[in-house]
Subunit: 339 residues, 2 copies
């Protein structure tokens, strides 16, 4: 029996936290590549918090997924048919071709990557969009200098893992914030952070003890109570790298949604000469993918960069896994093995 | 009868808005310059909002004025005696020598300036710290590009006047925000801003109408309700130049004072890739004073840069004038003619 395509569609826009009924799983025919296109079979799908924004039609930096369309996402897979120069069956490629088993894509946005060593799924994590996010955000905005103190929220997550390890390579003191003892243990023992604070505990007291000197760079992945605890602790000339605020993605998905909780009083921004800056990796990151990947592969080869993945087996489980991601249920970079 | 020195001291730290009894006016002997010092007689004293911070002992970027010490401030005056190389009686100098008629100073932090053309008081405003603040903050942080929309709060004030006019010179659309019709008229008719909004009116409605395209650069002098109205209107890659938040200087003078009102939710910083950055002119500004002054004098000579001063006659009136400054009672750069 020939394979069918398996696709996960956006059935309706979530209100608050997504639920399973917001998605629809369909089986369809495998598409045929047109002239200049390639047909790719996904092996891994990346699940990332930004996808919550794509499910909403609030104004944002990117168009929402249409109702009935395939959910967007980065995937790593294998070319099974090609009508595009430079691509042949068997090529292993990275690209943004969505929550589906097969997809027909134009080759401009595909990157050929090794099939193994490191394992292919790493091209969706440490060597993919999350890793590139960490690398470029530190390079462009955080600019950590040796001896500085860097605090990373969602420290065991796909981006946080990489942020902290690069900051360690740069000679910084690095303190992570994560949810629970298991994640914190991993962050310190496996990734080599200097400390990790559990946001289920008294974060103010833990910060008092872990960073009495204050914070030079804060990598913001979460917002909410973590942001509130960290914000007053910046040192002069501190930088706040605004990568995401996942804590409120289900509450305030809109650009300026009424009802979004207030943020910190900005008085310290003047007094301490802080810089608070947001970025989206797709603005400038991909043009530097080659440079990024070469540097990261070097660090991996030297044993200076490790990572942990949370692999979900089977595309049909992607919606449930994504719902968990927004609650911090994953432990490490969340990827789906596409069956 | 020989002249005496007249000095205004900090008598006690204000609670909330300063009152006259927080200051003490004393007459003392004219000091003698020591070896390597000069004796300066002030002609003008600059009054600026940052001085409120110096009256408080909350942690800040600069040490507070001690109780019983002369209030700090920039002054322009004339050397009356010199025991320092390079300075002679009659030299006209700019320096930070406080709320007093006479002062003995080391020459390192004195700038010689023209006695006239432009008038000496301009060296405390458009050509002094406020002008340098505007110029360096735009240069370093705001970076307005031709065709962009720039919004300036406290637009008729010492800094705001200059910010808006430089942004016009750079080819921007410039919209001021000021308190009352007289200030707004001045900002549009005399300074050439494209529009000016009265924050006593419905600021949201006025912003809807004046900047429907959104804001690329917001120059923050005030905070409070003006900030709240402006913040949701940034365009992608907008910059918020954090120069001051005078609206809360009497309420939340401390670095992170309990009770400071909350600020904006920072979600848009990620989505719109905003940069919010604070600065203090003394960090990097004075090293570029010569470059700044040459460029500004060029613009003044070309008739492209105007200014308005609010001159208070007599040093004894400085406390009252300063109290009014924090409430927006002045109209233009506030200076005191030192009698």
């Amino acid at each position: 029996m020939p394979e069918t395509n398996l696709q996960i569609l956006l059935r309706r826009r979530p209100v608050g936290a997504p639920v399973l009924d917001d998605f629809e799983i369909v089986e369809t025919a495998v598409p045929e590549p047109g002239e200049g296109q390639v047909l790719v079979r996904a092996q891994f799908l990346s699940l990332d918090p930004y996808m919550r924004g794509r499910m909403s039609d609030a104004k944002s930096y990117s168009k929402p997924v249409e109702i009935g369309a395939v959910m967007e996402g980065q995937t790593a897979g294998v070319v099974v048919a090609s009508r595009a120069a430079g691509f042949a069956p068997g090529d292993v490629v990275l690209g943004g071709y969505g929550w589906q088993r097969f997809s027909v894509v134009a080759p401009e946005r595909l990157f050929k990557v090794p099939a193994d060593n490191p394992p292919l799924s790493a091209s969706l994590g440490v060597l993919g969009m999350p890793g590139l996010t960490a690398w470029s955000g530190l390079e462009d905005i955080g600019q950590p200098k040796a001896g500085e103190t860097v605090v990373v929220s969602a420290a065991s997550g796909a981006v946080g893992q990489v942020v902290g390890q690069i900051a360690k390579i740069r000679g910084c003191k690095v303190v992570g914030i994560a949810g629970g003892a298991a994640k914190c243990d991993f962050v310190v023992k496996e990734l080599g952070f200097d400390a990790c604070l559990d946001h289920h505990g008294d974060l103010d007291a833990q910060l008092d003890s872990a960073v009495p000197e204050g914070i030079d760079v804060y990598w913001e992945n979460v917002g909410g109570k973590v942001q509130a605890a960290v914000f007053p602790r910046f040192r002069d000339f501190g930088r706040m790298v605004m990568c995401g605020m996942v804590a409120q993605y289900n509450e305030a998905p809109g650009a300026d949604a009424t009802g979004a909780p207030p943020g910190p009083n900005l008085g310290p921004v003047v007094r301490k000469r802080l810089r608070i800056q947001g970025f989206i990796v797709s603005d400038t990151g991909w043009g530097r993918y080659g440079t990024f990947r070469a540097q990261m592969e070097g660090w991996i080869a030297e044993g200076r960069l490790r990572w942990r993945e949370d692999v979900v087996d089977g595309l049909r489980l992607a919606p449930q896994a994504f719902i968990g991601l927004l609650k911090g249920a994953n432990f490490g970079k969340l990827v789906v093995r596409v069956d």
